[in-house]
């Protein structure tokens, strides 16, 4: 049934699958061990808040460095040169928003979800329903991107080109992920992310040193190699503009993307939820510091890997390989270390998808069970303490099934577009509400609702009528043209509009809860009464 034709020339699918199998086996054992202590909601959603800052920082890096940023950025640098590097800068600088404005205050005010923070001083049910809606929307788009990426990886690394074969592999990945989440909860998921982050960063480090070694540890010589390999006009690889400098619209599009990237991270629900897995706000701060260090170093590696692939593999070979520019890093691994290193990198890439998808699934299921089920439907009166976790587990199962189905259907979609969409929704629907809620005294329920639903609605409408969906040869739907919005990325319009709607909705409503604001600010800044770690 599975057609084992070679994907990447010289790749050994059996070896790739074996290395990945070892990773799955080791992580399954750890997940089983982690599951022994997973009993309460706090255990399931927040790993009993017992991870240390550094552990959580490594897990955040594991959660954040998705296949899109590993394969995608290295590939974009290899093919477009400098313009690929711009992505990594946006993805990294974004962490300062999380560090300075969000992480610690969020840890001090909430329990499990973004909805906890928003609902603190507003009317519970509408605000939680809104927060859950945007959490589910962001998670869904992000999930789809990861699963679609899995499909591309399958054809690239395992040489499975038949659609039945790909569907089988996507399903296997999905089932393993569901198992991690159901059995291990947040603790199991976190360990999977930690192991994956360590493997990914170690693999990228080895390749970076290897590439630099070939050029006498001289960055300038490496760039020279990339330029020479590209032939005439190769100089463009080192200069900005190869991808986004085509015309006026593409330049504005790049600006829009840049803004969405830098403001999206601190609104990603699966990133926010990670701050609840540590015992104190100070540990949340340490987590972000570790995450910034690891993510920053990793993106410096991808700079070398991208230009290394351009120099040693060559742009033409990369674009001809199955998976196109996404194949740059795997092809470089093969060039350097043959089938064994390729197998390792392939397994790490699969592990990446597995870990990120597990993180998204647990976040979405927590938001549904905690915000929608426990607080909107049951109005905060869930008698059986196990009921909420049971609902979360069922939700995880449903989301897992949706992810598998979506991944099979979306496998030919443009992965970068889906990720950009998730960042744009996070920056528009979530970030304004979180910032207003934490820092603006006057902010109220109506403002939160206008900002969340408005931001979500505007972003999705602009995306539907953008050239990403229709009207060009690279659009999602081919053959029709109903686009009127010129940009691929809506951030430039949707983010300011959401901030404006949050302000407008607030000033048009009389609601103002001074007492709750005082309480929230004291709690958020000092950590009085913040949820503590559960001892085991």
């Amino acid at each position: 049934m599975i057609n084992l034709a070679a994907g990447v020339e010289g790749s050994n699918p059996v070896l790739n699958i074996s290395i990945f199998g070892v990773f799955v086996a080791i992580t399954l054992v750890i997940v089983f061990r982690a599951s022994r202590n997973t009993k309460t909601a706090s255990d399931y959603y927040a790993a009993g808040r017992a991870f240390t800052g550094p552990q959580n920082g490594i897990a955040i890096a594991g959660d954040y460095l998705s296949a899109a940023s590993f394969l995608g950025i290295a590939g974009a640098i290899a093919v477009y040169g400098y313009d690929g590097f711009l992505y990594s800068i946006g993805f990294l600088v974004a962490w300062l928003v999380a560090l300075l404005l969000v992480a610690e205050l969020l840890r001090n005010t909430g329990k499990f979800t973004m909805g906890d923070v928003l609902a603190f001083r507003m009317r519970q049910r509408p605000v939680r329903a809104a927060a859950a809606t945007s959490t589910l929307a962001v998670s869904f788009f992000y999930l789809l991107a990861q699963m679609a990426g899995a499909g591309i990886l399958v054809s690239l690394l395992l040489g499975i080109s038949s659609s039945v074969g790909q569907a089988v592999v996507i399903s296997v990945v999905g089932v393993v992920m569901i198992f991690y989440v159901l059995v291990g909860g947040m603790k199991g998921t976190t360990w999977v992310q930690i192991i994956k982050a360590a493997l990914l960063i170690a693999g990228a480090f080895v390749m970076t040193v290897w590439v630099l070694g070939k050029y006498g540890f001289n960055l300038s010589s490496l760039f020279g190699g990339a330029v020479d390999r590209a032939g005439s006009g190769g100089d463009k690889l080192l200069n900005p503009g190869a991808r986004y400098g085509l015309n006026g619209t593409s330049k504005i599009d790049f600006l829009s993307l840049g803004i969405a990237l830098v403001l999206g991270t601190a609104g990603l629900p699966h990133v926010l939820m990670r701050f609840y897995t540590v015992p104190t706000a100070k540990d949340a701060r340490k987590s972000v510091v570790w995450a910034i260090a690891l993510i920053g170093i990793f993106y410096l590696f991808t700079l070398v890997l991208g230009y290394g692939a351009a120099a040693l593999v060559g742009k033409d070979k990369i674009l001809k390989a199955p998976g196109g520019e996404n194949s740059a890093a795997p092809l470089l691994a093969q060039e350097l270390g043959g089938p064994v290193l390729l197998g390792f990198i392939a397994a790490v890439a699969f592990a990446t998808i597995l870990a990120v998808v597990a993180g998204l699934t647990i976040t979405a299921s927590a938001s549904f069970a905690h915000d929608v089920y426990a607080n909107v439907i049951k109005k905060g009166k869930v008698d059986d303490p196990d009921a909420e976790v049971k609902v979360a587990r069922i939700t995880a199962l449903v989301i897992g099934a949706v992810a598998i189905a979506g991944g099979i259907l979306a496998k030919d979609q443009n992965v970068a577009f889906l990720v950009a969409l998730a960042f744009a929704v996070a920056a528009s629907a979530n970030l304004p509400t979180i910032l207003y809620s934490l820092f603006w005294k006057r902010f109220n329920t109506q403002g939160a609702l206008w900002s969340i639903y408005g931001g979500l609605g505007i972003t999705i409408v602009l995306i539907i009528f953008s050239p990403a969906v229709s009207g060009t040869t690279k659009s999602m739907i081919k053959g029709v043209d109903f686009h009127w919005f010129p940009l691929q990325n809506p951030g430039l319009v949707s983010i300011p509009l959401s901030f404006f709607l949050g302000w407008l909705g607030t000033v048009l409503s009389k609601e103002h809860n001074q007492d709750k604001y005082a309480e929230m600010e004291v709690r958020s800044l000092t950590g009085v009464g913040a949820e503590k770690a559960t001892p085991h």
Partner: protein, 116 residues
């Protein structure tokens, strides 16, 4: 008691405990110190990032100027974004450890006995 589902009119502590804590000189100092650092710093790094994006977007000639070998201004500016991110992280951690944590800890200790 949970943080988010509590009833302000119920058997919890009187609401004015929070008002009082909020109005205390110590808390106001903590609040001012936090805001005095994070707001200007956020404005600074966002403007610096925006400047970089705009230069990479619209000033191709300038960014393509070679400095040493194949290293051009664009690459140096890009790497400086990494440097500034690391530096701001370090500055914030030092500031928070020295200027914010001691006050927050004191207020927390005072209040932990009174409220949950």
């Amino acid at each position: 008691m949970s943080l988010t589902e509590q009833d302000t009119t119920g058997d919890g502590p009187p609401v004015d405990v929070w008002e009082e804590a909020h109005n205390s000189a110590e808390f106001q100092q903590l609040r001012t110190r936090l805001r005095r650092f994070v707001f200007p710093m956020t404005a600074l790094f966002l403007l610096w990032y925006l400047l970089y994006v705009l230069l990479a977007d619209y000033a191709h000639g300038f960014m393509s100027t070679k400095v040493v070998g194949n290293i051009n201004i664009g690459l140096i500016f890009g790497l400086l974004q990494f440097v500034s991110t690391f530096v701001i992280t370090g500055l914030y951690v030092r500031y928070a450890n020295r200027q914010l944590d001691p006050i927050a800890e004191k207020i927390r200790e005072d209040l932990d006995g009174v409220v949950k």
